[in-house]
C-alpha cells in the first residue's frame, strides 16, 4: 500500500488552476521528489497534503484512508518559507510545536532534549529565537518538523540557507529517517540533490503532472543512446562517417548511436575497426536535463 495517493486532484483560485487533475502515488519508506519550476503548483499540492488547503475535487488517501485532520499529527512539514516566534526560547518553542502535533507536555520535553543532544545544541535551549543565525534556526526548524516521529515528512527546499556542514547533517538525518521507514517528500529546484537523494520523482508544470517514475528508470527512459569513448591512437576518418559524432577532442569521443542498437554493438564496431578503447560509458541524461527538456516541451 502506498503512503500517500493523490487521485484526480483539482484546485482552482478563481480562474487560475493551480492543480489540474493531478494523480500520483508515493510508496511507503521512499524518498520522493516533487519537482517543478516556480509557480508549477508544488506548494499547492503540499498544502493540500498537509490539509492547509482542501482540493476542489479529487481525493487524497493516507495509508489507504481518506486524508483527515488526524493524519496531520503523523505528518511533519517544513515549508520553504519558514519562521519561528522571535521572542520565544528555543526549548519552549520546540515543546510548543511538538504539543500542537499531539505530544503530551512531558513527552515533548523529553524529545526536545533528545534532539538537542543529538544535534549537540543543548546550550541553545534558553536562547531566544531572535538570537539565532539563519542556519541555526533552520536546525531548530528541522527538529520541530521531525520531533513527533512522523510517518510522512515533507521538506520544501530543506537545504536553503545551510552551510555545507549543516547541509550534510540534515542530509544524513534524511537518509537515517528514510532507513527507519519514514516516507519523505522532498521538494526542490536543485536537481543534483534530487539525483543524490530521491528514489522516485514526479514532475509538475502549470498545475499538471508531466512526468513520474523512479530516478533510475527515468534516466533509462530518456537516454538518447549516447556513449563516451576514450581511446588511444588514431581513428580512421572513414569509420567515423558511419556514426553520429556529438563531439571529438583529445582522444575522447561522444557519439549518438542508432536507437535500435545496443552499446555492445558500438563496442564491437570499435574493436573491429582497431580502435584502442581505454574507457567506454553510456551517457545517461541528468534529471536536470530531463526536467528542462520536459518543461520546455510543455
Amino acid at each position: 500500500m502506498s503512503q500517500l495517493a493523490l487521485r484526480h486532484i483539482v484546485k482552482k483560485y478563481g480562474d487560475y488552476i493551480a492543480s489540474d487533475d493531478v494523480s500520483f502515488e508515493i510508496p511507503k519508506g521512499k524518498i520522493f521528489g516533487l519537482l517543478g519550476p516556480n509557480g508549477a503548483g508544488k506548494t499547492t499540492l503540499i498544502r493540500m497534503i498537509t490539509r492547509i488547503l482542501y482540493p476542489d475535487s479529487g481525493s487524497i488517501l493516507f495509508n489507504g484512508e481518506i486524508l483527515s485532520d488526524k493524519h496531520t499529527e503523523r505528518t511533519g512539514y517544513m515549508p520553504e518559507e519558514r519562521g519561528l516566534y522571535k521572542k520565544m526560547k528555543v526549548g519552549e518553542h520546540l515543546v510548543y510545536l511538538a504539543r500542537l502535533k499531539g505530544l503530551s507536555g512531558a513527552d515533548a520535553k523529553k524529545r526536545v532534549n533528545e534532539w538537542l543532544e543529538k544535534f549537540e545544541i543543548t546550550n541553545w535551549r534558553e536562547k531566544n529565537i531572535e538570537e539565532l543565525s539563519k542556519g541555526m534556526s533552520q536546525k531548530v526548524q528541522f527538529i520541530a518538523t521531525v520531533i513527533h516521529n512522523p510517518e510522512l515528512l515533507i521538506l520544501d527546499e530543506p537545504f536553503s540557507g545551510l552551510d555545507p556542514i549543516n547541509s550534510k547533517l540534515i542530509e544524513d538525518e534524511i537518509h537515517h529517517l528514510s532507513q527507519k521507514g519514514v516516507t519523505i517528500i522532498f521538494s526542490t529546484h536543485r536537481m543534483e540533490q534530487v539525483e543524490e537523494i530521491c528514489d522516485e520523482i514526479v514532475l509538475v508544470n502549470k498545475g499538471r503532472k508531466i512526468l513520474e517514475g523512479g530516478v533510475k528508470e527515468l534516466k533509462q527512459q530518456f537516454k538518447e543512446n549516447k556513449f563516451r569513448v576514450s581511446y588511444s591512437g588514431e581513428i580512421l576518418n572513414g569509420f567515423l562517417d558511419k556514426l553520429q559524432v556529438v563531439s571529438r577532442n583529445n582522444g575522447e569521443l561522444e557519439v549518438k548511436f542508432e536507437e535500435e542498437h545496443h552499446g555492445n554493438d558500438l563496442l564491437k564496431l570499435l574493436v573491429e575497426h582497431n580502435v584502442e578503447v581505454t574507457s567506454f560509458n553510456e551517457i545517461l541524461p541528468s534529471i536536470n536535463e530531463i526536467f528542462i527538456r520536459q518543461v520546455q516541451a510543455n
Binding site: G14, T50, I52, T75, Y77, R82, Y85, K87, Y96, L97
Partner: protein, 438 residues
C-alpha cells in the same frame, strides 16, 4: 479543543511575561490620573487673561456693575479716557494695558440695543467660549440696566430670579436619591469607555499578533498542525484572557489606591466619564458626593453580570474582525485602510453612548443597544438607567448571533489571508474570500 487550549496558553504566557504587560498594567492607572490632572490643568491654563476697557459714551451703564469672569479669564475696566487715544494705544503698543475695547456709542438706545450696536474691538481674536461669555455678560448688564430704568429694586430682582430645584424621586426604587441620573450617567459612561478603549487596545493586540505570525511565516508551520480556525480562536481567547487579567489587576490597583484616598475614587469616577463631557455638564464635588450616595441604588447585580458579558461579546465580535484585518494586511503592515470598516462602528458607538446618557429613552439609544456592532458600548452606558429586560435579552441574543457571524466571516478571510504573500488585497477580494468554499 485541546489544541486551542495549547494555543491559548502560549498566547497568554508569552504576553503576560513581557515587560510591556507589567508596565501597562502598572502605569495605565497612573496614566489615567495624569490624563485627568492634565485635562484639569489644560482647562485652567488654556484661558489667557484678557483685559477689556469699556468706553461708555452713552453714560447709561455708569452705575451698573460689570463683574469680571469667575475663572479670571476676562477682566472689565471702566475707563474715562478718550476712545481714539485708547484705540491707538491698543493697536500700536504691545504692552498696552488692555487687549480689547468695548465701545458703547453715545446714541445707544436700550430699546434697540443692536442698533447702534455695542462694538468689541480686538487685536487678538477671543476664542468662542470667551466671545460667548462676554456677550452673555453684556446681555446681563443690559438686563440690569433696564430693570433699574423700570425701577425694580435689587431685592425684587433677586426674588424674581429664584430657582427651584425639583426633587426627582423614583416611584419604584426608594434607594434612588436626589441626583441618581447623574450617578447613572457617570457609571454608564465609565463602562462604555472601558469597553471602547479595551476594544481598540486588545483588538490591536490580536491584529499585531496575526501580522507577526504572517510576516515571520510561522503560520505555515502552524497551519500544518492545527486548523486556521483553532489558531484564530486560540489567539482571540488568549488575548481575551490577558485582557481579563489586566482588568482584574486594574480593579485591585484602583481599590488599593482608594484605600489611601477616598477622594481619588470620586475623581476617578468623575473624569473617567469622558473627561470634557462631564465637566461641561457642570459636575462639581457636590455632585460627586451625590454619585457616591447613589451607588447603592444602581442595579449592581445586573451590572456585575452584564458588563463582563458585553465586554466579552464585544471582544469576540471585534476581536475576530481585527484578526481578519491582520491576516489580510501586507507583511509590512501597510493597508491601514482595511481597518476603517472596523473602527467606524466602534467610534459611532461611543458617540451614541455619550448621547444616551443624556437621553436614555431615545430611539437612538434603543437601536444602538440592540444592534450587535454598537450594543456592547451603548448597552453598558444604558445599564444604570435600567433598560427593559426584553431589550437586554434581545440585545444579548443579537450580540451572540453577531459574533457567530463575524467569527465565521473573519475565519474565512483569515484562512486565505494568512497564506497570501506579496499581494495588495482589495476590499472586493475580501468579500470574495468570505463566499469562497475554503
Amino acid at each position: 479543543m485541546g489544541k486551542i487550549f495549547i494555543i491559548i496558553q502560549r498566547e497568554y504566557i508569552t504576553r503576560v511575561r513581557r515587560k510591556s504587560f507589567l508596565i501597562t498594567t502598572l502605569l495605565a492607572p497612573l496614566g489615567f490620573f495624569l490624563l485627568i490632572a492634565s485635562s484639569v490643568l489644560i482647562s485652567t491654563f488654556s484661558q489667557g487673561k484678557t483685559h477689556v476697557a469699556i468706553v461708555d459714551e452713552s453714560g447709561l451703564f455708569k452705575d451698573i456693575p460689570i463683574p469680571d469672569a469667575d475663572d479670571q479669564s476676562v477682566y472689565f475696566h471702566r475707563v474715562t479716557e478718550n476712545y481714539d487715544d485708547l484705540l491707538s494705544e491698543v493697536t500700536k503698543e504691545e504692552s498696552a494695558k488692555y487687549e480689547a475695547l468695548i465701545f458703547i456709542p453715545a446714541d445707544f438706545n436700550v430699546n434697540t440695543p443692536n442698533n447702534p450696536a455695542i462694538a468689541y474691538r480686538y487685536v487678538k481674536r477671543p476664542g468662542m467660549i470667551k466671545q460667548q461669555f462676554i456677550n452673555q455678560r453684556m446681555t446681563d448688564v443690559l438686563q440690569k440696566l433696564r430693570m433699574k430704568m423700570l425701577q425694580v429694586d435689587e431685592q425684587q430682582i433677586e426674588d424674581m430670579q429664584q430657582k427651584v430645584k425639583l426633587n426627582f424621586e423614583s416611584l419604584d426604587n426608594s434607594k434612588e436619591k436626589q441626583g441618581y441620573t447623574d450617578a447613572a450617567a457617570i457609571v454608564g459612561m465609565v463602562m462604555g469607555f472601558a469597553i471602547y478603549i479595551s476594544l481598540f487596545f486588545y483588538g490591536t493586540m490580536i491584529m499585531k499578533g496575526v501580522m507577526e505570525e504572517k510576516s515571520n511565516r510561522i503560520v505555515e508551520v502552524l497551519t500544518s498542525s492545527v486548523q486556521p480556525f483553532q489558531l484564530l480562536m486560540g489567539k482571540i481567547l488568549g488575548v481575551g484572557a490577558v485582557g481579563l487579567t489586566q482588568f482584574v489587576l486594574w480593579i485591585i490597583l484602583m481599590f488599593g489606591v482608594n484605600l489611601f484616598s477616598g477622594v481619588l475614587f470620586g475623581i476617578a469616577m468623575g473624569s473617567g466619564a469622558g473627561m470634557g463631557e462631564l465637566k461641561n455638564s457642570g459636575l462639581d464635588a457636590d455632585d460627586l458626593l451625590i454619585v457616591t450616595q447613589n451607588l447603592s441604588a444602581l442595579p449592581i447585580a445586573q451590572i456585575v453580570i452584564l458588563f463582563p458579558l458585553y465586554f466579552l461579546g464585544g471582544f469576540f465580535l471585534y476581536g475576530s474582525l481585527f484578526a481578519a484585518v491582520g491576516a489580510a494586511m501586507g507583511e509590512d503592515g501597510d493597508q491601514q485602510s482595511l481597518m476603517v470598516p472596523i473602527t467606524i462602528p466602534i467610534i459611532i458607538s461611543i458617540f451614541i453612548a455619550i448621547n444616551v446618557i443624556n437621553n436614555p429613552d431615545s430611539s437612538l439609544g434603543f437601536w444602538g443597544s440592540i444592534i450587535p456592532f454598537t450594543s456592547p458600548i451603548v448597552m453598558c452606558a444604558l445599564l444604570p438607567f435600567r433598560p427593559e429586560w426584553w431589550q437586554i435579552l434581545l440585545s444579548i441574543v443579537l450580540l451572540i448571533g453577531g459574533f457567530v457571524l463575524t467569527t465565521y466571516v473573519a475565519a474565512k478571510i483569515y484562512r486565505v489571508g494568512i497564506l497570501m504573500y506579496g499581494k495588495k488585497i482589495k476590499m472586493s477580494e475580501l468579500v470574495r474570500w468570505i463566499f469562497s468554499k475554503g
